[in-house]
Amino acid sequence: MRLDLFGFFLLFLCCLASVYGAIASLLAAKLKHRRLFRSAQMASATAMVLCIGASVILWILLFSRDYSVGYVYRNSSADLPLRYTFSAFWCALEGSHLLWTLLLSIFSGIAHFTYSRDNEHMMPYVSLTLQSVLAWMFYLTISTSDPFAPMMPAPEEGLGMNALLQNGYMIIHPPILFTGYTSCTLPFAYAIGALCYGEVTAGWLKTVRQWSLVAWTALTVGVILGGRWAYVELGWAGYWAWDPVENSSLMPWLFITALLHSLLVQDKIGHLKRLSIVLAILAFFFSFFGTFITRSGVISSVHSFAQSSVGPNYLAFLCTLLGASVLLYAWRAPSILPTNTEKIWGVSRESALVVTQFLLGIFAIIVFIGTMYPILSEVITGSKFNVQAPYFNTFAPYIGFGFIVAIVFGNILRYQAQKFTGSRIVLHSAIGALIPTGLFCWYGNIFASRGYAFAVQVVGVALVFWGLIALTIELVAFVRQTRAGAWQLLSRHSAYFGAYIAHLGVLIAILGFLGNYRGMDKTQTVKPGDSIELYGYKFTFHGLKFDKVENTEMISAPLTMTRDGRDEGMIHPARSKYPTKEELFNEIGLVSSFWHDIYAVLADFQPDAKDQQATIQMHINPTVRFVWFAAVLFLVGGLLCLADRFRGRHRRLETQPLMER
């Protein structure tokens, strides 16, 4: 049996099922027809199952090295290790589009069968949205982005996978990140559902909160994993370059974070419903935006190896979506009113949360302007400009410090408070923060910085410690006040602890980011016996080493490290050469500790035994480990919030069933 034809056929069926599902749910909504909605549910389940089938087929084709399929030919070869054959599924355009569609069809299927009773009347609209998006995605898999397109005559050997993608991060980063992106579609579908239905129900809040948390957790972990990968692979000693694709993974994250906080206000005082809807639409729109700019080649970036003709398709899709959403919102949003118009926004937690939305929104706007400005400038003035790190770093400290202040006041202030009662906590935390700040600046060598960098770091460290202490005082007060056992506390107030840990993660991450202001580096060409001296360390070069690891040749320059005479071990910057490629890839030498990473790159080398020399780039990157630790905190916080069985749930009002037949 021609498996690839069968795979294509399955995708075609999925497209049909999604188109049918969209039409059925539209009719179910208009005619209030229960059985039509049931049919749409079945269509969604069908699309999910068949898409899983098609994906399994692609994997079978990859593992069996069927080079008659173009995608398998272009992305694998006989010597490709098993785990990379698995990740070859998503390593190029067609496969990664299929991965996105697969995840979306699975989440859509789950959403169709796990909705709250409150949302019964809204579900046809939700289904319509989900199935329309899926119909479009499936249409692309059978037209311009077909993973099963044949390659005739079938070649003997495949082209092999891009060596940059042959590492562990490629196995986990895309699936996690795509989980984040695709789960942004569900709050969007519910937002459209609310607009069409004309009301936001209690069940809406619960469901959208859960999907937003899934999206948030996956996006946070995915984005930071991407940073970690760039750090260990690309060799420029940084983890975030404000690359257009990195930026476009940050923007949906910002909107989903804003959505979560808006839902919180909605939960407590019934306001900001329309803001939640707007944020859900924006998060979804930006989750597709990144894919659009990489695949259209409109902006060049590290991810730009995936250019194709799919670009104009995505642009049309995004513009239609945005236009339709704006029109729908303008027409229907006035019918969605706050639950209680008596509430006043004093010096309260709600106000702090509104300020948080403002900060997140402004950050997203800055990132968007920075990403799109090269295009805008070329169109309007004809001159091509770049917007790289310096632009974003101009604004980033203010936004970051704003976040810290918002987090502290957001946690200290009470809902519906009229005046500020937290002055004691603020003062005590400020005093308590003095000593840790001083110690941190001393041991972290911040006092060696000068001028603007020094000011930013000192203010930042002080704010972080102030925040850490204030949040902990607040937490202790909360625990004391509830007077329950530890397990009881955790199970009843999971989300409170989850939020505490997530906010802790923000503070620790900011502490880690501040390290970028005092990094140092040195490039030196050394012969055997020479040493490089940097930051009190002495790195001695003893000669090049040649090894063979799996299918690659490794040329490394092991250096012995000493610090003030003490032996600190070794570091191994290296280069690797794959048999089928000409280029050499970076295998950086990395020794991490609490205060800093020692990061060594073998920039160049002369291998002749008589005249051996190597050019080593030595970097000292302070507090990078804090950022990775923050990722763990975010993950734990997000999961704890998801595990909360009480947040967002309200006693359900028995509604009249509006669906007749």
Binding site: S301, G361, I362, I365, I369, S377, S383, F385, N386, Y391
Partner: protein, 166 residues
């Protein structure tokens, strides 16, 4: 067109003499005074590496970056200021050699827009949420008690009248 110029420049530099190597740059950097070194770092951080994505020439050791670094060092030695050196590269390679938009003319928009939008947004938040609102008391009913009593009597009379009739 830009690419053609770059390719020609690379070709020229390879034929005009030995390519600048990392060691040459290292050597020249070690002869700078601390003030000159700081100036070099500042200028090099503001120019982009033409063949890399997202890096400055300070961060990169690509061949083209090394050429530009060499040129910057030459110009520092002749006593040019950072602005003059930046202008030199802008005229030679176009605005594209910079890492951020110029702070003049249309491009000032990129810098002012975030600040402008922040101010507008904060004003809107004040308008929507924090503006002190005066409460208007409900209008007291203007109908007097006498009128209401009169109406009640008439309605009662009508009802008793109907009963006696029916």
């Amino acid at each position: 067109m830009r690419n053609l110029i770059l390719v020609c420049l690379i070709a020229l530099s390879t034929t005009a003499g030995a390519l600048v190597t990392q060691q040459d740059i290292e050597g020249r950097l070690s002869t700078l005074t601390p003030v000159e070194r700081a100036e070099f770092d500042q200028i090099a951080d503001r120019l982009r590496c033409p063949t890399c994505t997202g890096l400055s020439i300070l961060q990169s050791d690509a061949p083209f970056s090394l050429e530009i670094k060499n040129s910057v060092l030459d110009q520092i030695k002749t006593g040019k200021s950072s602005d003059q050196i930046q202008k030199f590269f802008m005229e030679r390679y176009g605005y594209w050699i910079l890492r951020e938009p110029l702070k003049e003319g249309f491009h000032l928009l990129a810098w002012l827009l975030p600040i402008g939008i922040s101010i507008v947004a904060l004003f809107l938040i004040w308008l929507l949420f924090w503006r002190p609102r005066t409460r208007v008391p409900l209008q007291a009913s203007v109908r007097s008690e006498l009128e209401i009593l009169g109406e009640m009597e008439r309605a009662l009379a009508k009802m008793t009248g109907e009963r006696s009739n029916g």
